[in-house]
Each structure stands twice: as structure tokens, then as C-alpha cells.
Amino acid sequence: MIVCVAVVGHQNNPLYIQSFTEADDALKLHHIVHCSLDVIDERVNNPKKSGPLLNETFLGLLYPTENYKVYGYLTNTKVKFILVTTDLDVKDADVRNFFRRFHAAYGDAVSNPFHVPGKKITSRTFAESVSTIVKAFGLSSAG
């Protein structure tokens, strides 16, 4: 189950962060997301020489915490997407797929002429589509 998704701007400032848990761990999730930026920095600064991951937007598993897994995605426009899930075994394919759809949603959100680049994303439409994508992920990964 996805517990949190976040969009982080190129100055590492949070643009959108939404958690999907009833538990009171929204704050912890903030911390987790924030920390994951370190891993992203590491990955980007010395990218893995080996094959497929080179410059791919999908950064894969960033790091496991005691009971979460954190995945990352870095767009060409230096915007970071972060996904925190509780699932222990997640198929990369699912995550990739998730990020693809998420990116599309993000693209539409910033295509809103009234959205000012670099500012927090307040669009309702975006929020809605995100939650649908998140739900969809739950289903796919469950199966």
C-alpha cells in the first residue's frame, strides 16, 4: 500500500506531499521523504555506471526503512517524485508504471496556465488524479 507520495522541486523544496495513512505518521513520512533526497543526490551525483539505470528518470528503490520502502523518480526538469510504500515486495514494473502516470498527472497540473512554476501544487484535479493513481497501484501490486 502506498502511504505517501511527494513532489519535490529542484531546490529540494516540497511542492506536493500527501500521505494516505490513518496512522499518525504523516510527520515521519515527511522526514522519510526529506531524507530520501539525500539518496537521490547520491544517485544523481555518481550515477551507476552499469547499464539501464543510466540517466533513467526512474531511480528505483532509494532506501528501505524499518517498515517502508522509498522509491524515487527524477524528471528531466529536475523535479523529484517520491513514493513511500509499505509493501515488502514491489515489482519495479508497477512502480515505473505508477510514476509514469504520476508524471503525466503532474505534467497536466503544471500545464495549468495559472500555475506558477516552482510553487506548490494546489490543484484539486491533480490531487484527485493522484489519489486514483495511488488506488490503482494498490490494486496492481496487490495482484
Binding site: D108, A109, S111, N112, P113, F114, S123
Partner: protein, 187 residues
């Protein structure tokens, strides 16, 4: 006049004309509106300017419309309105509009759009209530009709950006202006 080759269908024309990504169009329009909002501040003023721009576009576009659609005469308002809705919208925006709500004496009707490329991605911020985002369209129609000598008044009655289920433009024919001899006879 040759009635031989009648008006062509909107789809046929749209298929034949050069086309571009709607995104480019949509975003450009959006950027223009945003710029106007920041420059002119007053929402009302922005509406006015959008309409004006639309008008200017309309008076250019009409000839393309006529040439491509092969329409030879726009004397009857009813017929013309239909033309615009069925052919005009299709051949330019690739969407079809329907004409409804004719009033008794056939001088006022509504053009209804379910789908409108202008508003993809658009979400009106709370600060811009009162903005007719698509006001350029009304301008275009007004301008185009004026070129075929119909003075009209075009107003929005429904707007999806304001939560309505469709876009509805009310087109009201004010008068038809025949062309008159422009030169004074005394010179």
C-alpha cells in the same frame, strides 16, 4: 453563383487542413490569458480584451472559413449559425458544436460546446472568478459574423470552468448591415 459544389462538411475540411498539436494552442492561449491578467489586473478588462482579440481574429478567419467551406452566401442567420457550429468549430478546433434554444423570431440562439480544447489543463484560481476564460471564442464569432454583415451580441451562458456541464454561447442577431456605396457622390 455556382451552387454546383455545395458547402463541404466540417470533418472533411478538418481532415484536409494542416493541423498542429492542440497542446501548443491551448498552452499559448493560457499563457496569453495569464499575461493579460497580470498586466491588466481587472478581470473585466481582461474579458474585454480577449473579446477584442477574438473579434480581430474573426475578421481574418472568416475568409478562410468561406474559402475552405465553399459557402457562397450567408444571408440567412439561422443557416449561418448552423454553419458556424457545424463547420466552423469543426474545421478550426476539431470539435463540433450544436445550435439550440432558437427564439421565436429566429434572431437568437445558443451554440453549445461539450468539448473545448481551450480549457484543457485549466483550473481557474479563486482570484479569477468573473473571468470568461474562453471569451476569445465569443469575439471570434462576433467578428466573423460581422464580416458577413451580421451585427451580433455574443454572451456566455454556461461555462464548464465555472462548474457548468457545458459551454454555451448565446448569439443574438442585432441587425444585418447591407453594404452601401462608400464614396460620396459629390467627389
Amino acid at each position: 453563383m455556382s451552387r454546383a459544389s455545395g458547402p463541404r462538411s466540417g470533418d472533411a475540411i478538418f481532415a484536409s487542413v494542416e493541423r498542429v498539436n492542440a497542446e501548443l494552442f491551448t498552452l499559448t492561449y493560457g499563457a496569453i490569458v495569464r499575461q493579460l491578467l497580470t498586466d491588466l489586473e481587472e478581470v473585466e478588462e481582461v474579458n474585454k480584451q480577449l473579446d477584442q482579440m477574438g473579434y480581430n481574429i474573426g475578421i481574418r478567419l472568416i475568409d478562410e472559413f468561406l474559402a475552405k467551406s465553399n459557402v457562397s452566401r450567408c444571408v440567412d442567420f439561422k443557416e449561418t449559425a448552423d454553419m458556424i457550429a457545424k463547420v466552423g468549430f469543426k474545421m478550426f478546433l476539431g470539435v463540433t458544436a450544436s445550435v439550440t434554444n432558437w427564439d421565436a423570431d429566429g434572431t437568437c440562439c445558443s451554440i453549445v460546446l461539450e468539448d473545448n480544447p481551450l480549457v484543457d489543463f485549466v483550473e481557474l484560481p479563486d482570484t479569477c472568478q468573473g473571468l470568461y476564460y474562453c471569451n476569445i471564442l465569443s469575439g471570434v464569432i462576433r467578428g466573423a459574423l460581422e464580416m458577413v454583415s451580421m451585427k451580433t451580441e455574443v454572451t456566455w451562458t454556461r461555462d464548464m470552468l465555472r462548474g457548468d456541464d457545458a459551454f454555451e454561447l448565446q448569439v443574438k442577431l442585432l441587425k444585418q448591415v447591407p453594404e452601401e456605396y462608400p464614396y460620396k457622390d459629390d467627389d
